[in-house]
């Protein structure tokens, strides 16, 4: 029997439609959780917008905005337990905040402070990964360690649609399947890998279906529907805890540039961006909560003010943190400095310049 490409039908999980109306049986999510999810989305967006402005003012360095992906990031991270581990790419502010990374820590990262890499000190979150897809294998190794040490912990790799083209992604799915590891691969298909559209990234009609080739479970979810993401991720984590790895594809959209150094008007149509603004994840959730009589415009405005204050405070803390010192770079290469590192460190004066 010939296995024809893209024969499998993949149904996208959706709870809320684009206008915030229920399209399926309501999952078991209490009002408190609804508010929690939405408030995190507000915080993530507020942080994101401020970071963009701060970069334009030259007060932080290159930043990769996540605007438009709040539902995917918050909904997925909200389902994690404290003991679970997150292996993020560089566009995961929202998810990282929910799992315990402070806004201050993220600002320090964007400001080029060495302390920006210390997320794992206070949260089970690996440092931001720059090499596309490399973290998938670390999540596999982490999941393996938790399995062998009998810890009840799931490792979650966060990557984008572009990352699914990397060899490390495929090797990771393969290992996860062979060893039945407690791992979830959470792919945010935001349609663009810098300037290359999803259609040129893979000939598969969905990313979710790639799971089948590795003998693991795949699922596609509306990544702008926070309720769909949250409930799907809860189920994915449950399966992973039982040693059944899962590939989740959250279909979303990168509303902003790849990074602050990118101009997306060069490669994509404004009409496309506008069509996705209609599907904005915050707008949808807000409409749903207002319909449900647990939210209103006044509360909404207040929530953005609270978030703004929080971001301001975090940035102040980051700005008041002393800059990394040149001599610090020698301290984190090995547990004990080699003679060469000692010598090079002592060649640096207190002002950070060569003596």
């Amino acid at each position: 029997m010939w296995i024809e490409p893209n024969e499998t039908e993949v149904n996208r999980v959706q709870v809320l439609n684009e206008t915030g109306k229920l399209v399926r049986t309501y999952p078991q999510i209490c009002d408190e959780e609804l508010l929690g999810l939405y408030k995190w989305m507000v915080q993530a967006r507020t942080f994101d917008q401020r970071a963009l402005k701060l970069q334009r003012q030259g007060r932080i360095g290159t930043y990769a905005p996540m605007i438009g992906q709040e539902a995917a990031q918050i909904g997925s991270a909200f389902a994690l337990k404290e003991q679970d581990w997150m292996y993020p790419s560089y566009r995961e502010v929202g998810a990282s905040l929910v799992h315990g990374v402070s806004m201050e820590n993220f600002f320090l990262y964007t400001m080029g402070n060495l302390q920006g890499g210390t997320s794992a000190k206070n949260a089970n979150v690996f440092p931001v990964q720059i090499i596309i897809g490399a973290q998938c294998l670390h999540a596999v190794g982490g999941a393996w360690a938790s399995k062998l040490q009998h810890e009840n912990s799931v490792s979650v790799a966060y990557i984008g649609d572009g990352g699914t083209s990397q060899g490390d992604f495929h090797e990771a799915l393969n290992f996860a399947g062979v060893y039945k590891l407690p791992v979830v691969f959470f792919v945010q298909n935001n349609h663009w890998a810098i300037s290359v559209p999803r259609s040129k990234q893979t000939a598969s009609s969905t990313i979710a279906q790639k799971a089948a080739a590795y003998g693991i479970t795949g699922i596609q979810v509306d990544g702008n529907d926070v309720l769909a993401v949250y409930s799907t991720m809860q189920e994915a984590l449950k399966r992973a805890r039982e040693g059944k790895p899962v590939l989740v594809e959250a279909v979303t959209y990168r509303q902003g540039p790849h990074t602050t150094a990118d101009d997306p008007t060069k490669y994509r149509q404004n009409t496309e961006v506008e069509s996705w603004l209609e599907k904005d994840p915050l707008k949808r959730m807000k409409a749903f909560m207002i319909d449900r009589n647990i939210w209103d415009e006044e509360l909404d405005q207040k929530e953005f003010e609270i978030a703004n204050e929080k971001v301001t405070k975090a940035f102040q803390l980051a700005e008041n943190t002393p800059n990394s010192k040149t001599e610090e770079v020698f301290d984190f290469v090995f547990e004990q400095k080699t003679k060469q590192l000692q010598e090079q460190k002592s060649s640096i004066g207190t002002e950070g310049v060569l003596k």
Binding site: W85, L114, Q115, G117, T118, S119, A120, K121, F126, P127, I131, A134, C136, L137, H138, A139, V140, G141, G142, A143, W144, A145, S146, L148, Q149, S155, G167, D168, E171, A172, N174, F175, V178, Y179, V329, D331, F332, V333, F334, E335, T338, K339, Q340
Partner: protein
Amino acid sequence: MTSMTMIEAINLTLRKEMERDNKVVCLGEDIGKNGGVFRATDGLQAVFGEERVVDTPIAESAIVGAAVGMATRGLRPVAEIQFLGFIYEAMDQMAAQAARIRFRSAGTLNAPMVVRAPFGGGVRTPELHSDSLEGLFLHSPGLKVVMPSSPYDAKGLLAAAIRDNDPVLFLEPMKLYRAFKEDVPEEDYLLELGKAHVLKEGEDLTIITYGPTVPLVKNVVEQIEKTQNLSIEIIDLRTITPIDEETILASVQKTGRAVIVHEAVKTGGPGAEISALINEKALFHLTAPIIRVTGFDTPYPVPSVEDDWLPNATRIGEGIKEVLSH
């Protein structure tokens, strides 16, 4: 004391370390039932089970990347790359991930892991099975690079590598796996990483080498000293990162002459680094230019010409003659 080969010493060390610490796990291609293509892990799976001695799919990047993930979460993985020439597949996970995790987490995370790989020439292998690529990793801050030249060294260095809290690339000269036996203590001992071994003291000339070329250099020196009134010092570096500056400099300051021997290609190789180090810190003690006897700047050749390509007795002899001519 038991007389054993290097491969037996490695096998014994792995077994002892796995007994000592249940966080030590081995992973790699064909290392389980088959015991590794050279039998380094022979019998380990039968003792420690499939969970701790893992036959992996053929995916070098995943072997190293998964080891990084394990090591940062409490295990001490010992990964095997079947031949060092295959490690190009895992370059990112080696040089950008394992090597940098301590740095990019500002000391919050570290990766106590070992990547073992057979390397070196002279055994008539197919392509990419004999390459000496240690120079690539000397140039990747955050990795330690260790290479034993004897069964005794293999045991002490491998145990130290497994207990080290940083990633170690442990390179095993496959030509020496079964080349000779020597007495190796059964009991625990460690050889410090970063400390060279002065194999033989001498006054007129220093030869700096490591790993596969050590027995060859010993032979050449023995022959020369038999027929000529010369006294040659031999340093076995044992590790090239960290490199033992003190031993190298003290020796060269004494003898005033240095020949560096390694199988890795010449340009940008470990010899270049050692030579630069001597120039920076002991130039005025030199009475002759430093000579490097190394592999040529070509890809590792086919078996029919490898004996001429590799540093051999003739080429090392020429190198010695050259430095002594000044």
